[in-house]
């Protein structure tokens, strides 16, 4: 357990990076420090391995005040993973992973066994990767090495400073999943800094939300979502959600428009497509209906799988011959409530959203509505009730 008591950090220029923090980091858990940039989350983490010295208060690990320990020896007992991976380019993968064990003067065989074991742990074949250099690995592989390097000397505490933020989204998700999987076996005390709420919600046992050098709320993710302490917490959660939906920042109280909910890239086809092509496209996109748009993206009609199969035998026909006109559309910017009423009244499974000149901009489907609702409830915003009743 790591306990912060009245910890302060003030820089020489008078800037207070950390203002009187009290915090208990529980053993065997992933504690995520999150907040906007400059909130002091990284500083808080670096206080733990004394990369930064506090100007007041005390930090205890397992009851021992870390100020009384030799910083270099302390750091060898704490795993450390940084954002820019920080692998040593002049050392092989095996040398990189074995850095801390070698600093701790383990014997050679033991280090080698440990390195192979750790490589296996993240699914990298030791015989293939042991003697490679970091530059020969992909970003995701490099950060896997970064993570196992932190585990090498089997420390109880591991600090991770935005470890996955420089990776592409797919590698990031993979590494998050792997971290959660590893943690189930290893039960380390992990302090994880991030600015990504989705990442925090995915991996955290406890989320510590910080702002301006202070802790705003520290609690289980579930409780933070259900009982956000104040408007800052709400907006931090809400803002992230809206950003991930790819829309402009709007206050959560505002009723959403169809543009927030629609699928922006639904399956569309040009009128000149043949019927077999249409079937293939539906198969690939896993849909039963295609929207037919011309090259200016003007909505021409809609084709369902039944329309196509009815006339499939006629090889010369195109989707333009079998399509049916779109009866109902809503203009971009319509409120979601109106669109839902329309869908409900006309028993529509989907509803096209059009811009000026009947230009097709997106599609509201039942799935997209459900996803939107799920997001709203997940964010704990109480704005959801207002239009929940519309759907029921």
């Amino acid at each position: 357990m790591i306990v912060f008591t009245g910890v302060k950090k003030q820089y020489d220029d008078g800037f207070q990076a950390i203002k009187n923090i009290d915090l208990e980091i529980k053993e065997g858990e992933i504690t995520v420090l999150i907040g906007p940039s400059g909130c002091g989350k990284t500083t808080t983490m670096k206080l733990i391995n004394r990369l930064i010295q506090p100007t007041g208060g005390s930090i205890r690990i397992q009851g021992r005040d870390i100020a009384s320990l030799n910083p270099v020896e302390l750091r060898r007992q704490i795993g450390y993973v940084i954002q820019n991976i920080g692998l040593f380019p002049h050392m092989t993968i095996a040398k990189n992973v074995g850095v801390v064990p070698r600093l701790l003067k383990w014997d050679k065989d033991k280090v080698e066994r440990r390195v192979d074991e750790l490589l296996g742990l993240v699914g990298l074949d030791p015989d293939t990767y042991r003697n490679r250099y970091p530059s020969e690995l992909s970003g995701g592989q490099q950060q896997r090495i970064g993570v196992i390097r932190a585990l090498a000397a089997d420390p109880d505490v591991i600090l991770m400073d935005e470890p996955f933020s420089a990776l592409d989204p797919i590698s990031r998700e993979q590494l998050q999943d792997e971290l959660v999987r590893l943690q189930q076996e290893l039960r380390k005390t992990i302090v994880f800094v991030t600015h990504d709420m989705d990442e925090a919600l995915k991996i955290a046992d406890t989320i510590v939300l910080m702002k301006d050098g202070e802790i705003v709320q520290a609690d289980r993710p579930e409780r933070i979502l259900r009982y956000p302490a104040n408007d800052f917490v709400k907006s931090f959660i809400g803002k992230k959600r809206l950003q991930s939906a790819g829309t402009e920042l709007v206050a959560p109280e505002l009723a959403p428009s169809v543009d927030d909910v629609m699928v922006e890239q639904p399956a569309t086809a040009f009128p000149s497509r043949g019927l077999a092509e249409a079937v293939k496209l539906m198969e690939r996109r896993r849909v039963d209906t295609l929207l037919i748009v011309d090259k200016n993206r003007k909505l021409q009609g809609t084709v369902s799988i039944y329309n196509v199969l009815d006339q499939y035998a006629e090889e010369n026909k195109t989707v333009a011959d079998v399509m049916r006109p779109v009866e109902h559309t809503v203009p971009s910017g319509t409120s979601l409530a109106i669109a839902l009423q329309l869908m409900s009244a006309k028993q529509l499974s989907n509803l096209a959203v059009v811009g000026e000149d009947n230009r097709f901009v997106g599609l509201i489907t039942r799935g997209s509505v459900v996803r939107h609702m799920a997001d709203l409830y997940a964010s704990g915003s109480n704005g959801g009730d207002a239009y929940a009743s519309v759907i029921v």
């Binding site: 391995n49 940084i82 820019n84 692998l87 040593f88 380019p89």
Partner: protein, 226 residues
């Protein structure tokens, strides 16, 4: 034209056979002059460059580079002349002058090499429990090594060519052959001295390059294979 005439080559051949011991002795002197100056330069400039990179106090950096720059810009003949009233003539002042010339390129390359190490790498080394000296020797030095070596190689070539002037203050070396050749109007002497200096410079550069590649292959496998 003179060089290509067979008569000259025949004379040159005879000359070399005759003066072989002199040529060898001059080459030996030249090697000692350059080698000692270079070794001193490396011993002083590499640690100085490391220190400057480690303590980024601006006045220290400006001062050190300023002094080294000044030595670099004094014409070599003038520097040798200036040293006569201070240190007399002979091998010592010649080595001192060459040493002063070697400082700047080695210092600057060492400094640049150490500064070029990614701060994220140093941060991660610190966070994992490398002490300050371990960081310097196990992380920064190997990563800065190619820069340091390129500084040393450039300097070596310069020093070997400048060492031909050392004869003017009585330090001997291959310059002596050239200067006396000019004095007695004997082309064979001039050509032999100059050619030996060129070969020496090329050989030294080749040897250092070999060392650099051997070490770099271990340190930067990608960069070396390019």
């Amino acid at each position: 034209m003179l060089l290509l005439s067979s008569e000259f080559l025949k004379d040159f051949d005879v000359f070399i056979r005759e003066r072989y011991p002199d040529l060898l002795q001059a080459t030996g002197q030249h090697l000692i002059l350059s080698g000692v100056a270079l070794a001193l330069g490396v011993l002083v400039a590499v640690p100085a460059g490391m220190l400057l990179a480690h303590y980024p106090a601006k006045w220290a950096r400006t001062g050190a580079f300023g002094v080294a720059n000044i030595f670099q810009t004094i014409p070599s003949l003038a520097l040798l002349a200036l040293l006569i009233p201070l240190f007399g003539i002979g091998t010592k002042p010649a080595i001192l002058a060459l040493f002063l010339y070697s400082l700047m390129p080695i210092l600057r390359n060492t400094y640049t090499g150490f500064r070029s190490v990614d701060p994220a790498i140093l941060e991660s080394a610190r966070g994992m429990g490398y002490g300050a000296a371990q960081r310097l020797m196990r992380i920064q030095f190997p990563l800065a090594f190619p820069y340091i070596m390129s500084g040393i190689r450039v300097t070596t070539v310069y020093i070997i060519s400048w060492a031909t002037l050392a004869t003017l203050i009585g330090a001997g070396g291959l310059g002596q052959l050239i200067v006396s050749g000019i004095g007695v109007n004997k082309e064979e002497l001039v050509v032999a001295g100059a050619a030996a200096a060129i070969v020496l410079a090329l050989l030294a550069d080749g040897v250092l390059g070999g060392i650099e590649r051997r070490v770099a292959r271990r340190a930067h496998p990608k960069a070396a294979s390019k």
